[in-house]
């Protein structure tokens, strides 16, 4: 799956995107983020506070409980601050 990061999450991870093979037991974004946080110390610190993260699955805003299904791109970012 293609993972894309923005703003403070991107900076904490030191990368704007990465490709990851997800373990088959991961069904929701919440589960994915818990697994991803275990992949490196940078991931752990960037993803530590789930309540402060927002998600878009194939470019649609979704809640952490959303099912990943056949989606190909997950974006992880802080609350938006445009305008």
């Amino acid at each position: 799956m293609r993972l894309v990061y923005f703003a403070s999450v991107r900076e904490a991870l030191g990368t704007a995107e990465e490709q990851r093979e997800l373990p088959p037991h991961i069904l929701t974004i919440h589960e994915l983020v818990l697994w991803l946080a275990d992949q490196s110390p940078d991931h752990a610190s960037a993803l530590a506070d789930m309540d402060r993260l927002r998600f878009a699955l194939d470019q649609q805003m979704v809640a952490a409980g959303a099912l990943i299904g056949n989606s190909t791109e997950l974006a992880i970012f802080p609350p938006v601050t445009g305008g």
Partner: protein, 148 residues
């Protein structure tokens, strides 16, 4: 007429709005957001999620047209580095009468603030920079449109 534009170059609100002025309506309302002079801030940096941003702004504009009798709408948002005092965003709406144009203009910016994937970082005179935190007051304003 529905216009969405993401610009890396400076935006000129008057020029952007010109196309909404000759649609035959009696009302053209607009909002311009400007990089605010705030303490030691010298500029802001805007990041966006290319593709999703345009789709999201398109959705906001469609909802505005479904809700008010509008002749045209525009959202122009700048990205990249923006010096204090320069425009960041322009929203505008043209209609036969002022109520629809004024309300739709506010709707466009209120929904953009909470729904569109943009992120703002403040740059300070001493070289530091910090991401701006989302404001609860913005959520309240956007939510008011969604319950009405």
């Amino acid at each position: 007429m529905k216009i969405i534009r993401i610009s890396t170059d400076p935006i000129n609100p008057v020029a952007e709005l010109a196309c909404l002025g000759d649609l035959g309506g009696g009302a053209l309302a607009s909002f311009t957001g400007i990089a605010r002079q705030d303490g030691d801030v010298v500029g802001i940096e805007l990041e966006h999620y290319a593709g999703m941003t345009e789709a999201c702004l398109g959705d906001i504009i469609e909802k505005a047209h479904a809700r008010w009798p509008l002749l045209g709408t525009i959202i122009v948002h700048r990205v990249g580095y923006i010096a204090v005092g320069e425009p960041v965003v322009v929203t505008g709406a043209a209609s036969l009468h002022r109520a629809a144009a004024l309300e739709a203009t506010a709707y466009l910016i209120d929904c953009l603030k909470t729904d569109a994937p943009f992120w703002k970082k403040e740059h300070y005179g001493d070289g530091r920079a910090m991401w701006v935190a989302a404001k609860a007051s913005d959520d309240v304003r956007a939510a008011q449109w969604k319950i009405r």
